[in-house]
Amino acid sequence: MADTTDLKKGFKMLIDRNPFVVVDCQFVKPGKGQAFFRTKLKNMQTGAVLDRTFKSGEKLEKADTEERGMQFLYKEGDQYVFMDNETYDQMRLSEELLSDSIHYLLDNMHIDVMLFEGRPIGITPPNFVELEVTETEPGFKGDTSSNTTKPATCSTGLVVNVPLFVDVGDKLKIDTRTGEYVERVKS
């Protein structure tokens, strides 16, 4: 059994049978009063965030979650098929479950799949991925201005704001945590 001393960013816990991850945790204590932990918790299945205040010393239930290394094999309808790197078991995740992460999935990519009580509930793409530009307005040659941007569509369907010098066929480094363009990759 866990308790409030375990509360820190990233701690995974159960509330009403649902897995939550702590995204923010503050120690609060009136000088003459009881200590509490004021937390923001993210539902690992729905992404919904809720505020919860725990009394210091309160017992908590750790969520039985596990991250497993897997490889993305292919897409079939709205199902994405992954293979466990160790057991070679295949697992299907729906587009709905993956939500924005589908924009970072490339064939054969290795990623971590989050399992809750054995069931997949989401994936963590690598922090950076390289995606090819399939569509963007042409820019001016030699324009290296970084103040102006334009939209570019990548092979996975992701649309990012990029500097004017980016062209169709360029490879871009994207930060998957923010969904933002980082740099053009030399090819």
Binding site: F27, V28, K29, P30, G31, K32, G33, Q34, A35
Partner: protein, 404 residues
């Protein structure tokens, strides 16, 4: 070895170039024939034919032309290992280092401002012991025991008992910047070791001490912010100029939580939950505010309100939702004080906590007679944090616990 350097780096900026200079510093950058020296007051570039190694402490001697010093660097000591080390002490190589350097200098200024304020008002600065026979019996405060001493000692959670003994001993206006320790408290507004500014005023009650508080904070703000009383707070600017708003705890509960204090008590957990979740975050967002008339059951060392014994003569000030201080019109009745401390001991035992001894010499001081007095305990680190707009009190300390 050369004689001592004449100029700290900061003073260099005030010299009229060209000027001959000689100054000490640490090499934090080496590029070609140029190095950059740094100390807590600033940094300067030195052009020298023979560049010293990175991290070396040097004395630079030459001519300051307003941009660089042209001259030589004499190496005094050089690092024996890597420089900078991960987790090392050189501030500008820490992620938050530059901000911490600024904060530490501002903190020193705030200390001086506090002393000036009280010295000007004929308060005596005192120093009382850190290790004491009883650290106070508040149910929600846990003290650090001092190992291996007999009779047992604990580190103070506040200097209250000894300062009140000084009041009884004939020192009617006293203040102290005291290091205090509280176990298990760590967060943006808490460190297990911190600095408390505590003061007492005889022949006064909480009204006078609240006035001291608002004037003190405004004075420290003006000193640190070039005459302004508008502080960054935590996001929205806050004007700390007196007078501050006053609100009773009951009014605050009704306003921000839609429930009266008497509807919540005696359920103390519910009281504190509402306080931390709904009330405190709303307090002092535009201007500081005093919360007054706390429930009698939370009187601690405060006297009961002579006009309404269901509340006590206790106040707290809040700025940007953060509790800055806790003050009392002091309880001077030894019989009532002993009764409360016994009850606190029983509650501590019931909660499985150590029941610290009752400090008989403190009770003795009350028996001998304490003048009617007011006192306040103000978190000095929090004051500095709020004045600078820092995010945590650890940011305004040289060594928060996580850097030890």
């Amino acid at each position: 070895m050369s004689e001592s350097p004449r100029y700290p780096i900061e003073i260099l900026q005030r010299l009229r170039p060209p000027a001959p200079v000689k100054l000490g510093g640490r090499v934090v950058e080496v590029a070609g024939g140029e190095v950059r020296l740094e100390d807590i007051t600033g940094s300067v570039r030195v052009e020298c034919a023979k560049a010293p190694p990175l991290g070396a402490w040097v004395i630079a001697e030459g001519e300051w032309n307003g941009v660089v010093v042209v001259g030589t660097c004499e190496v005094l000591t050089a690092p024996t290992g890597a420089f900078p080390r991960a987790g090392g002490d050189w501030p500008s190589f820490q992620a938050d280092g530059a901000a911490r350097m600024r904060a530490l200098r501002a903190r020193a200024k705030a200390r001086r401002a506090v002393r000036d304020f009280f010295d000007d008002r004929a308060f005596l600065e005192v120093e009382t012991p850190a290790a004491v026979p009883s650290p106070g019996l508040d149910l929600h405060l846990d003290a650090f025991p001092v190992a291996g001493v007999d009779p047992p000692r604990w580190l103070i959670t506040s200097p209250e008992y000894q300062m009140k003994r000084m009041l009884a001993g004939g020192a009617p206006r006293i203040y102290q910047l005291a290091r205090c320790w509280r176990r298990g408290e760590l967060g943006a507004n808490h460190q297990p070791e911190f600095t408390m500014l505590e003061w007492y005023r005889a022949f006064a009650g909480s009204a006078e001490v609240m006035r001291d508080t608002e004037q003190l904070v405004a004075h420290v703000a003006r000193t640190m912010l070039d005459g302004s009383t508008v502080i960054p707070g935590s996001g929205t600017p806050i004007d700390v100029a007196p007078p501050w708003q006053r609100l009773t705890v009951d009014e605050a509960f009704r306003t921000f939580a839609g429930v009266g204090v008497q509807d919540v008590l005696p359920d103390e957990e519910r009281f504190f939950r509402i306080l931390v979740d709904q009330v405190e975050p709303q307090l002092g967002r535009m201007r500081p505010i005093f919360l007054t008339h706390w429930p009698a059951s939370m009187a601690s060392l405060a006297r009961l309100d002579p006009n309404d014994p269901s509340v006590c003569d206790r106040f707290e000030a809040y700025i940007a939702g953060i509790e800055l201080c806790n003050g009392f019109g002091e309880l001077v009745d030894p019989v009532e004080q002993r009764r409360r401390l016994r009850a606190d001991q029983e509650r501590r035992v019931a909660e499985g906590k150590i029941a610290y001894p009752i400090d008989e010499r403190f009770i003795g001081a009350l028996e001998e007679g304490l003048p009617p007095s007011g006192g306040n305990a103000l978190g000095f680190d929090r004051l500095v944090m709020l004045l600078l707009g820092a995010e945590s009190i650890g940011d305004v300390m040289a060594f928060p616990t996580e850097r030890l």
